[in-house]
Amino acid sequence: MPTDVAELVAAAKEGDRSAFDELVRQTYAETYTLAYRLTGNEEDARDVAQDAYLRAFRGLNRFRGDAQFSTWLYRITANCAATFMGKRARNRHEALDEDTPLEDERPEVDPERRAHSLDLRDQLGAAISELPPKLRAVVVLRDIYDLPHEDIAAELGISVAAAKVRLHRARHKLRSTLFPEIDEVEARAV
């Protein structure tokens, strides 16, 4: 059996089930990681990852070789996560709207912990998971996974302009969470 992703995709398209299984083995940890970053918890990430592979399996014939398989899978995962989060929000009657005030009610990152953690990377992970889900999705897909605005908008079912606004707000929020000093100076000056 081939081990190269492109060859595996070609074989899977021909109906070789073991080739598709091998694709899953090679990519599932990465897909799960993206799903976790989008949903913010393990259980939802599992559901999203499973759904994403089902859709990938059913839609494999629509995958064209000119894109990378991983990028295609990111897009499917993003779409599944958006659908999943949307459904859950409706079930809970929660407003996961982008109009959610940036200063939401959830507890801030423990300042003590922030002071003691010198690693930007660790703080960033926490700050991302604190973002409202709709802002989080856009910044994760753009700044970590490097998807174009157009693809992000398509998978999240929003306009490109809305995707850009969310990205702007997400980046702004991350910076003021991770580097609060400038904003504090600003606040004192007012």
Partner: protein
């Protein structure tokens, strides 16, 4: 030009200063506060991009669950192919032709197929 006018553009400018106009760029070049803020955005963006290569450890059993789901979907697909074998073969011929004129027909046929799939799945 004031800092607050420029600050609005700084998140975009973290990807490259092309997001800034000439006057905004001139302001940033001479303003330590805006420079500091831009450096922070760039630090965050670099850390975000580095996260791309990080892979979390998936919860145990996930791989087996995914493969089992695919197995099940594969069975349903096989049954459907048996039931609609002739139509699938015809579509295959159309797809192979790849002519621009056939593209519309393929889209319509694909829609019909997904309807069939939903019926079988339920």
């Amino acid at each position: 030009m004031r800092c607050d006018q420029v600050a609005e553009k700084l998140p975009e400018a973290s990807e490259g200063t092309f997001a800034l106009g000439r006057r905004e760029r001139r302001h940033v070049e001479s303003c330590l506060r805006c420079q500091a803020e831009l450096v922070q955005y760039r630090k965050i963006l670099r850390a975000m991009r580095a996260m791309r290569t990080e892979v979390l450890e998936a919860s145990p059993g996930l791989l087996a669950d995914i493969l089992a789901n695919i197995e099940e979907a594969g069975e349903r697909h096989a049954i459907r192919s048996l039931l609609t074998g002739r139509r699938v073969a015809y579509l295959g011929g159309l797809a192979a032709a790849g002519a621009a004129g056939a593209a519309g027909a393929i889209v319509i046929a694909a829609r019909n197929r997904s309807k069939a799939r939903i019926r079988l799945a339920s």
